[in-house]
Symmetry: C2
Subunit: 471 residues, 2 copies
């Protein structure tokens, strides 16, 4: 298996490599596209309750051993001194240069055992880092499910469900067979699901408490049946969410799932990492899609400050990878995370071209028009690029196309900018048809966008910045 380094030699630069990836759309695999219909599935997380099946789309990495805490603390920006048992954090590793590699939700199950869940780049980085730094940790990696199993059986180590929405708690208490002790946000406790004791992370969406539960994959059917029965008994319209609606929930809650891992440049540890990565791994087969094209891959990198994670940083830790670089950046101006609300008339003009002969504008697929694992669309003020749109989708709750991204420090909420939609010239990507570019006006809005999420998502996350419980 050739390495990423070897693969990169075949291309003019890594941007060209990733913009021409033929791996196809980054899908949310295995889960049915729709159980009801994607409009009502979106509506359910705002109005009643929704069941997310998160068993398949994320990597899981178990880190245990005498040095587990020290290892993870050294490779993430987060504080670990407040990381008690039975809680979770939003874990962010960066490169020595301070660029975000990815992010995982990390659960502390024992003094010396953590479970991490998220996209591949964080798992890959930690697997490499354990060997590279000669750490005394045991790792167990369960990669996400295949994108197109085509009828073959798919097994994971754990099932993972989330119940969210204003009526979620009624279902959860019915399932538990009684009231649940007050679990603080991003803390973990044990609850009953029928006859089983199950770990549950207190989460939240749309201003109401929800839970994420997980356990051995072989319990999945039992757990699912028990949840559905509990919803029926509680008289709650719990809607199972399919893969088409699933990936759009983040547009309302404001998390950007897809920053490009900042690992394509840099020497030392990073060069060794590229020699370690195989040419079939996320970093090699992932794709960049969108109107923003730069020869310099670093122009796609994000810092924790850009993404609003600056307040996670454990400055008091003796050292961690990237600390020096982040210290350097700390007091300089940073980009900020926002939601772009797409102009309705401009969107309709794009759609109209699908009914005309000739090359249409880039089709906006509903509800999820992303066509690469990393989206990068230019956001302009006049001719000047002032932002990057990074994750797109339609929200039936907001009756709008929204995208998440970053803008320069001088851009303000309320500004109307122009998003360049579509790529300047054809690439080898299989995920997009030949198309023309379009200008779509976008209004800069806060992230998270949804009024409810914005005002009452939860204490203790970057969503409110009121506390730092998730950091």
């Amino acid at each position: 298996m050739p390495s990423l380094s070897e693969l990169m030699k075949k291309w003019k630069n890594p941007v060209e490599m990733l913009r021409n990836s033929r791996s196809g759309i980054y899908v949310y695999p295995v889960v049915a596209p729709e159980f009801a219909n994607w409009r009502d599935e979106q509506r359910a997380w705002r109005e009643s309750a929704v069941l997310f099946d998160q068993s398949h789309h994320m990597d899981e990495l178990i880190v245990e051993g005498p040095q587990a805490t020290e290892f993870l603390s050294h490779h993430g920006i987060n504080r670990f001194d407040n990381f008690g048992l039975n809680r979770a954090k939003h874990y962010v590793p960066v490169t020595p240069a301070g660029h975000v590699i990815g992010d995982h939700i990390i659960f502390r199950e024992r003094e010396d055992k953590y479970v991490l869940v998220g996209r591949a780049p964080t798992a890959n980085w930690l697997m490499f880092a354990a060997a590279w730094g000669n750490w005394n940790v045991r790792l167990r990696h369960d990669p996400r499910s295949p994108s197109r199993p085509e009828g073959e059986r798919v097994l994971r180590v754990h099932y993972r469900y989330q119940i969210q929405g204003p009526e979620a708690w009624k279902v959860i208490e019915k399932m538990n067979g009684g009231p649940i002790p007050d679990i603080p946000f991003f803390h973990v406790d044990w609850i009953n699901v029928g006859s089983k004791r199950v770990q549950a992370l207190r989460h939240g969406m749309s201003g109401a408490p929800g839970l994420e539960i997980w356990g051995p994959y072989e319990d999945k059917s039992y757990i699912l049946s028990t949840i559905l029965q509990a919803a029926e008994d509680a008289g709650v319209n719990l809607v199972r969410c399919g893969s088409r609606a699933y990936s759009t929930n983040t547009l309302e809650s404001g998390w950007i799932p897809s920053p490009l891992p900042g690992i394509y440049t840099g020497e030392g540890m990073l060069a060794d990492y590229r020699d370690w990565l195989g040419d079939d791994m996320y970093e090699a087969v992932g794709s960049i899609g969108g109107s923003f094209v730069s020869d310099n891959i670093e122009d796609y990198y994000m810092t924790p400050f850009d993404l609003g994670y600056g307040f996670y940083i454990g400055w008091n830790k003796d050292d961690f990878i990237g600390k020096a670089a982040l210290q350097e950046m700390k007091d300089k101006p940073h980009r900020k995370k926002v939601t772009f609300e797409w102009n309705r008339d401009d969107v309709l003009k794009v759609i109209a071209t699908a009914f005309e002969d000739g090359t249409p504008m880039k089709w906006i697929d509903f509800p999820q028009p992303n066509y690469a694992s990393t989206s990068a669309d230019m956001v302009l003020e006049g001719d000047r690029m002032v932002g990057l749109s990074m994750f797109n989708g339609y929200s039936f709750n907001e009756r709008a196309l929204l995208s998440l991204g970053v803008v320069d420090p001088d851009v303000e909420v309320g500004d109307v900018l122009t998003l360049k939609w579509g790529e300047p010239e054809p690439t080898m990507k299989t995920s997009t048809e030949r198309h023309r570019q379009a200008d779509i006006r976008v209004r800069v809005c806060p992230a998270p966008y949804a009024r409810q999420a914005r005002e009452s998502y939860a204490p203790g996350s970057w969503r409110t910045k009121a506390e730092k419980a998730a950091g």
Copy 2:
């Protein structure tokens, strides 16, 4: 398991029962939604070549035994005197009242063995009929794959692939390792696929010959790899078609997949059939969606004449189920099958409401907006209903929303009518969000719509009506 008869007693009438079905969207299961993107997948069957994986969405029924021919001939309208070995037909059973039950492709494999492939209603009817009429036939039924397998393994008796498009033949000859003898349309022969001998049905689309091949399901991966390698060796851009694009191919070729089986009324054999059918079968859990609402379920029934299958009828057969009724209808005026081309501006007005507050018009999901197993939308001339739209979808090749349906005899190609889009009031169907109705102008066009398909689909099918080889 209660029967359909018992289930029907719980409802005011069967229309109400089917319009409130909660079984969800009728999906094309197991096959990935997209391999490339649905626009390019549609384009491939017009411009290069496409690979359809038809292994999962249809029932298969094997009928063998001393009375196999007599049994099938008695339960279908088709001629059997010209049904030699190694050919196929488009088999249409009707009720004693002459209403279409469904249709299957039927292959004659031996003197006393046939394989039938299609939606459930034809398979169910034949299974019932064999016992009801005390026929000496052995039946083996392989129902279609589950709609939402959610990671569980799915097995069928046979894999089934189709290679279609203007460059399909190059792939097929490469796969065969040499030229293929001229197989007449809808005839079967054996070809090589790598090291295997495989049965192939000569089919065609977009005016070019194609093949459908099948064999034991355990050979599926080998066959797929061999086809893809052959395409590469032949230098043909063979695009795998996902489930989102798949179901739209019929809009260009003009076959209506979803007539409602005419079995909800009638006494004698039909009453016995409803006692035999279980309340979990297609006829009980299937759904009707659309603006046409009648208290009389017979208003949804089709005759072979309506669907353009009148010329299949084997009038010279001594008897077959429905013969007397069809003879009665024969010389009366019939509806005719057409394609409706939806007005672009009206479509855009519907889409625009997805960006406004309040109850939107019914969302048109791309490329496949059907939201029931049987679609029934009213087509009006002024206030007068003059047609029924029965299968909807968007064609990137035609840059248009199209639907297939039937119109009254006096409607002419070129007429502009109004399609009522959306349901008059909410139902219990999970497949549609709450919505308002919309008027969409439609232009009446021939079926098949596509110029190429219309002019050169193949000799010997209802598509050209030039010969009767498929009947």
